[in-house]
Symmetry: C2
Subunit: 231 residues, 2 copies
C-alpha cells in the first residue's frame, strides 16, 4: 500500500474545519440562540488556526443566519448564536433567481403550494384574523404598486404566521421577498387591483368561517389572477 493512489492529505479547507468544530461544539455543549461564541482571536488560538480562517467561518455562519457579530465590549459584543433563517433563505432564492437557473414559474408554483397549505391551516386555526383585516385596509389606501405589493406581502405572510409553522412562514417570507420585483411588475401590468382585493376578501372570509377547502381554492384563484399562465 505504499505506492500510487494517495488519498489527498488535505481535502478540507481550514475554515471548513473551523465550521465543523463550531457546529460540533454547538451540538456537544448544547448551545442555543443567545449563547456567545469565543472571540475570534481566542477561537483561532484554541483551534490552532489563523484568525482569517476563523473569520471566514464566521462569515459562513452569519450568512446561514446562525451567528450575529457585534463589535465592542460587554455582554452583547462578540459572536452571538442566533437563528434567523429568513435572510439566508431570501438571499439564496434571490441570487439563484438572478442567475436565471430558477424559472419564475417554479417560484410561483412553490408559492401556490405554500399558500394553499397556509390558508387551509389558517382556516382550521381561525385565529388572529384581525391582522388580516388590518393588512386589507392598508392595501385599499395604497398609492403605488410598490405600496400595494408591500401590504399584499404582509397579508399573505400573516396567513402563514397564523398557520403556526415557522419554517413554512419563513419560506413564505423569503419567496415573497426574493420575487418582490416581479410582483410589482405583475401589479403594474394588471393596472386595476380591485380584482385582487376581492380575492383577498374572499380568502379572509373563508379563513374566518373556518373553511379550509374554500380558503385553498380562493388562494389558487387569486394567484391565477395575479400571474396569468402566460407569465
Amino acid at each position: 500500500m505504499t505506492d500510487t493512489h494517495w488519498r489527498p492529505v488535505k481535502r478540507t479547507r481550514t475554515f471548513e474545519d473551523v465550521l465543523a468544530q463550531i457546529e460540533h461544539r454547538i451540538a456537544e455543549d448544547g448551545l442555543t440562540a443567545g449563547d456567545r461564541l469565543p472571540a475570534e482571536r481566542r477561537l483561532a488560538e484554541q483551534l490552532g488556526v489563523s484568525r482569517s480562517s476563523v473569520r471566514e467561518a464566521m462569515r459562513v455562519l452569519e450568512t446561514l443566519g446562525v451567528v450575529s457579530s457585534q463589535a465592542g465590549r460587554g455582554p452583547d459584543a462578540g459572536a452571538v448564536l442566533t437563528s434567523r433563517p429568513d435572510s439566508a433563505l431570501t438571499d439564496v432564492l434571490r441570487l439563484n433567481l438572478g442567475l436565471a437557473t430558477l424559472e419564475l414559474r417554479e417560484v410561483i408554483d412553490t408559492r401556490l403550494m405554500i399558500e394553499r397549505w397556509a390558508a387551509a391551516q389558517a382556516a382550521r386555526a381561525r385565529a388572529g384574523t384581525s391582522a388580516l383585516a388590518e393588512a386589507l385596509k392598508g392595501m385599499d389606501e395604497a398609492g403605488s404598486a410598490e405600496e400595494f405589493v408591500e401590504h399584499d406581502t404582509a397579508f399573505h405572510c400573516a396567513i402563514a404566521e397564523i398557520a403556526g409553522n415557522r419554517l413554512i412562514a419563513a419560506f413564505m417570507r423569503s419567496l415573497r421577498e426574493s420575487m418582490s420585483r416581479y410582483a410589482v411588475e405583475a401589479v403594474e401590468r394588471l393596472g386595476d387591483t380591485s380584482g385582487l382585493q376581492a380575492d383577498h376578501r374572499r380568502i379572509l372570509r373563508a379563513v374566518q368561517e373556518g373553511d379550509p377547502e374554500e380558503a385553498a381554492q380562493a388562494v389558487t384563484d387569486h394567484l391565477a389572477h395575479a400571474y396569468p399562465a402566460g407569465g
Copy 2:
C-alpha cells in the same frame, strides 16, 4: 457643513459592499452560471479593497451556492458562477434545527406539505416511475437503518424530481438531509420496515396509475406511520 452630526461615513462593512458590487455586476452584465468572476486579487484591485474583504464576500457567495472556487490555472480555475441552492438550503435548515429554534414537528409538517404536492404532481406526470421502482429494490436489500434511510430518501426525492419543479425538489432534498439523523432514529425505533415498504408500493402504484388524490393520501399515511404523533 463642517461641524457636528456626521451621518456615519461607513455603515456597511467592506465585504458587504463587495457583495453588492458583485451582485450588481451579475445583474448588469447578465452573468449566468458558468461565467467566471475576476480573480480575487484583481477584484480587490478593481474595487479598491483588500483581498481579505473580497475573500469574505466569496465565502458568502459560496455559502449561498452561487459561486464555486477552484484553485490552479486554466478555464476551470478561479471563481465560477454556479447555482447550487441545495447545500445552502440544507445547511440553513440543519444548523437552525441544531439550535433548537425549529421544532422537528414543523420540519415534518413541511415535508408532508411538499411530499403531498410532489406525489400528486408526479401522478399527473406519470413519468420516470422506473427510478422509483429502482429505489424500492434498494430498500428491500438494505441492512442497516442508515442504508434504509438512504434509499428511502432517494425514493422520496425521485418523486419530487418527477414533479418537475427544481425549487421544490431542492427543498425536498434539503429537508431530508437536514433531518436524516432523526429519520434514522425513527426507523430504528420502528424496527420493522415492512409497513413503510408497503406504503412505498402504494405510493408507486398511485403514481403509476395517475391518481393524484390517492398518491397524496398514501404519502400522508406513510409519514404518519414513520413519525407517529408523539414524536
